[in-house]
């Protein structure tokens, strides 16, 4: 390229080019750092971590999973945070230990970790399994426990006799146990299997213990359902508006102004749409609906409060400009000769649109809808006003008539992330799950965007060739 061939040295010449290159590198660096952080922290959480048994200078014994170190605020010593579990015995799941307090540390293979309800994790040792008056110990107990855990909780019998690190005995019914592992005794392969199960449970189960444990399935489902409803609303209207603007309206100053207006709405902050949704849909339309049809339930609102329908409508409005702009771009790319040809052969405008123009613009429309979905999936602020819930034990889609409950609140991945990071009972316990949720959300949005980029690329190449 001729642009790169003339290289003459001016004093500032070399420097600014490098600064600009540095900017590109820096942006990529930040993006890479963010994605790496989310991936490592989000996926690492499910890896069965090694448990350390410590002897402290006071003679006390404890077992825990080392999490991170921090310098003491005064002095030069550091302290380490351990996850210790056993909340019913010690009052807390966590413990800070000064590094110089530790006399010795070991990783014995017989240490086990249970996830149970309602008390959260247990870390300690297994003494025996008591089953129908029988007392099993050692490997036979381990085998039997894994058999029993395969059953649903209500069908399990038997109790675990456990020993806490401080030497206290404990009896735990098997029905309250969710997982049972001895992480220090596991091989890499077994750990990978457990990791895979952990990731799967995160994706397929509902949250437990007030969002500090369990999975995000209801949030994934709520997000998907909301996004599908939104696309169902936004696609026809967006396409119709684009067809009107591009094919039917007179191309004059007014149309140009409208086009600029629509384009700019994409830049209006999402929270403004949320305010509109709350004022018009929830309080306005929803309030009236309640007065007309759900009179008996008042003052407790049915549609007069945030819900699935209003959230979908608000996000449809929010993403309308995206669909309109993308579809219009597609329509504008279609050579006029195609339209002329159709009309010349005697097609009416409707026939021309449905047989020639719209099929040719389909990839563009699809691109628009996917971009809209990507935007909606990551958007949280307007939803805080029009319908997400912290915990929605009722799915908005179930076997009860009318199956799809448009008035219900729903869970949303982005809001779930915000909620567990700010509202959860125990922020330390929630953070790893927040990372995992963030990673999932970013992946969903990135995949959607990549699909749109791929489609658009495909579209351009095709046009370029023809």
């Amino acid at each position: 390229m001729s642009r790169t061939s003339h290289r003459r040295r001016w004093p500032g010449d070399a420097l600014w080019a490098w600064l600009c290159a540095g900017c590109v590198a820096l942006s990529l660096f930040m993006l890479a750092t963010l994605l790496t952080l989310l991936t490592v922290k989000g996926l690492g959480h499910f890896w069965p971590a090694t448990l350390e048994e410590l002897t402290l200078r006071s003679g006390e014994q404890m077992i825990g999973q080392p999490l991170r170190e921090a310098p003491m605020p005064t002095g030069s010593a550091t302290e380490r945070l351990y996850f210790t579990g056993n909340r019913e015995l010690t009052g807390a799941d966590w413990r800070w230990v000064g590094v110089d307090e530790i006399v010795s540390a070991a990783t014995p293979a017989d240490v086990i970790r249970l996830e149970r309800s309602p008390w959260g994790d247990f870390i300690g040792r297994l003494i025996a399994l008591e089953l129908d008056g029988e007392r099993l110990t050692g490997d036979s107990a381990f085998d039997r426990i894994s058999q029993l855990l395969a059953l649903p909780p209500s069908e399990r019998s038997g109790e675990l006799v456990l020993l806490s690190p401080s030497g206290r005995g404990l009896v735990q019914p098997l029905s309250g146990v969710n997982t049972f592992v001895a992480p220090n005794a596991l091989s890499i392969g077994e750990k990978t299997a457990i990791w895979g199960q952990g990731v799967w449970r995160f994706l397929s189960e509902g949250p437990r213990a007030a969002n500090t444990g369990g999975g995000v399935w209801p949030a994934i489902f709520g997000t998907l359902l909301m996004v599908i409803l939104m696309s169902v609303i936004v696609t026809p209207f967006g396409v119709l508006a684009a067809v009107y603007l591009n094919e039917i309206a007179h191309q004059n100053r007014l149309t140009r102004l409208v086009r600029i207006g629509v384009r700019n709405l994409a830049g209006v902050p999402s929270i403004v749409y949320g305010v509109f949704g709350l004022g018009v849909f929830v309080y306005g339309v929803g309030g009236s609906l309640d007065q007309w049809f759900f009179d008996d339930a008042l003052p407790s609102p049915t549609f007069g409060t945030g819900g699935l329908l209003w959230a979908s409508l608000t996000l449809a409005l929010l993403t309308l400009p995206v669909v309109i702009v993308a579809t219009e771009e597609g329509l504008a790319r279609i050579p006029d000769a195609q339209r002329e040809g159709a009309v010349a052969l005697g097609a009416t405008r409707l026939e021309m649109l449905t047989r020639i123009v719209l099929p040719m613009a389909t990839p563009a429309m699809l691109t628009g809808v996917i971009l809209a979905v990507a935007r909606a999936a990551g958007e949280v602020a307007p939803l805080m006003l029009v319908g997400v819930a912290k915990l929605a034990p009722q799915m908005p889609l179930d076997a009860e008539f009318p199956y799809l409950h448009l008035e219900r609140k729903f869970m949303h991945l982005g809001y779930h992330l915000f909620d567990s990071a700010f509202h959860g009972d125990d922020v330390e316990a929630a953070i790893p799950l927040v990372y995992a949720t963030a990673l999932l959300l970013v992946l969903i949005v990135l995949v959607l965007n990549l699909t749109a980029i791929f489609l658009r690329h495909y579209l351009r190449r095709q046009r370029g060739e023809s």
């Binding site: 642009r3 080019a17 007179h250 830049g267 403004v272 309109i324």
Partner: protein, 388 residues
């Protein structure tokens, strides 16, 4: 069917009309009817959608009207820290993001090979896809505590990054030719990555040591003792960094388009006449693409003003009127997000928050319109020059 819109499209209307006259079977009346109905429906739907969009503005204005009757100084007192907070957050984000975004835009438009550009540009634009709530979480719960403990390192890093790029340039010019060929300037955006990572690590290692030697304590404590400057964990600096990250891609993408679309003969001509690339950039490219860059910055400002989740999660949400970058802020959008669901409709707070939304709406709409008009004008200019 006389079709005004199609006629408008084609300047040769009379001739076109002749062509348009259907040569073979005229549309039957049923088909014409269907066509009329469909056209009517599309028109209705189109106009309906446009009206719905218009309704946003109308609604916001309508809901703010009750304030006019009892607008007092109290409302003003409540709103002004929020307005300042919004502005402060946006300025912080722009100050940090615009240089990076423009630098990256200049590099990828004027230096990169087209092949590399086709890869790098979409990757940078993907940054925009990272949801605000994720950025806010990382900024508020990871970055903010870290920066508080490593304030000096952070500031040193901000200073060092441009220097390190320059240093890389100097080293490159001193390097043997073979190495220079292997690490070309065109791909510098990529191979500088490990360089930046390595030198950043060096700074992070050295800064605390120097800090202890020169100040005797960490920087935050020093600032507090010497100058009485308060340091809040979630402050304007954090918001600026996080929101800067969020607006870099949009500013970059638009500015890059403006620079890349400069008709090639212009730059080539300038360089053929003996201008260095530096001069070609300053004297030709920037003045030409200036309006495009301006509109890119405007769009970035619009985004920064309205961003909600990042400000909500990364700032302290304290309604302050301070100018210090180390103190917190509270923005319109964050106030709306936390207060509005709890405010009963028809209360004063409700109307005040709607007023805040109206201000956001008007501001972003104006800024975006300005940017769009400027951009369209620029496109026409390019078309003229490119076609000539």
């Amino acid at each position: 069917m006389a079709d005004a819109s199609l006629a408008y499209r084609y300047p040769l209307a009379p001739f076109y009309d002749v062509v348009m006259t259907p040569p073979s079977p005229a549309p039957s009346s049923l088909r014409t009817l269907k066509d009329r109905i469909a056209t009517g429906l599309i028109t209705a739907a189109g106009i309906g959608v446009l009206l719905a969009i218009l309704a946003i503005g109308v609604f916001l204005v309508w809901e703010t009207l009750p304030l006019l009757t009892h607008f007092d100084t109290l409302s003003l007192e409540k709103l002004s820290p929020l307005a300042w907070g919004t502005l402060k957050a946006a300025i912080a984000a722009l100050v940090l993001a615009v240089p990076v975004a423009l630098g990256a835009a200049i590099f990828s438009a004027l230096f990169m090979t087209d092949r590399l550009r086709a890869r790098i540009k979409p990757s940078l634009e993907l940054m925009e896809a990272v949801p605000g709530v994720v950025i806010g979480f990382v900024a508020g719960l990871v970055l903010a505590p870290w920066v508080e403990r490593h304030l000096a390192s952070t500031l040193a890093l901000l200073l060092w990054l441009p220097l390190s790029a320059g240093l890389a340039g100097i080293l490159w010019h001193l390097a043997p030719k073979a190495l220079r060929r292997a690490l070309s300037l065109e791909s510098a955006g990529l191979w500088l990555l490990p360089w930046i990572a390595a030198t950043a690590a060096l700074v992070l290692w050295a800064a605390p040591i120097l800090e202890q030697q020169w100040l005797g304590s960490d920087l935050a404590t020093f600032l507090d003792r010497r100058f009485g400057i308060d340091y809040t964990t979630r402050n304007t600096l954090i918001v600026g960094l996080a929101m800067g990250f969020a607006i870099i891609p949009s500013v970059y993408s638009l500015a890059e388009d403006a620079l890349y679309d400069i008709p090639k003969p212009l730059m080539e001509g300038a360089q053929a006449l003996g201008a260095s690339r530096w001069q070609a950039l300053w004297k030709v490219a920037l003045p030409m693409a200036g309006p495009g860059i301006f509109s890119a910055v405007m769009i970035g400002a619009g985004r920064a003003v309205g961003e909600t989740m990042i400000v909500l999660m990364a700032s302290s949400n304290a309604a302050l009127m301070s100018a210090s970058p180390f103190e917190g802020l509270r923005s319109f959008s964050a106030a709306i997000a936390i207060e509005l669901p709890e405010a009963p409709p028809d209360s004063q707070t409700y109307h005040l928050l709607i007023l805040a939304a109206l201000v956001l709406f008007l501001f972003t709409f104006l800024v975006n319109t300005l940017a769009e008009v400027v951009r369209q004008r620029l496109r026409r200019r390019y078309q003229r020059l490119g076609g000539a």
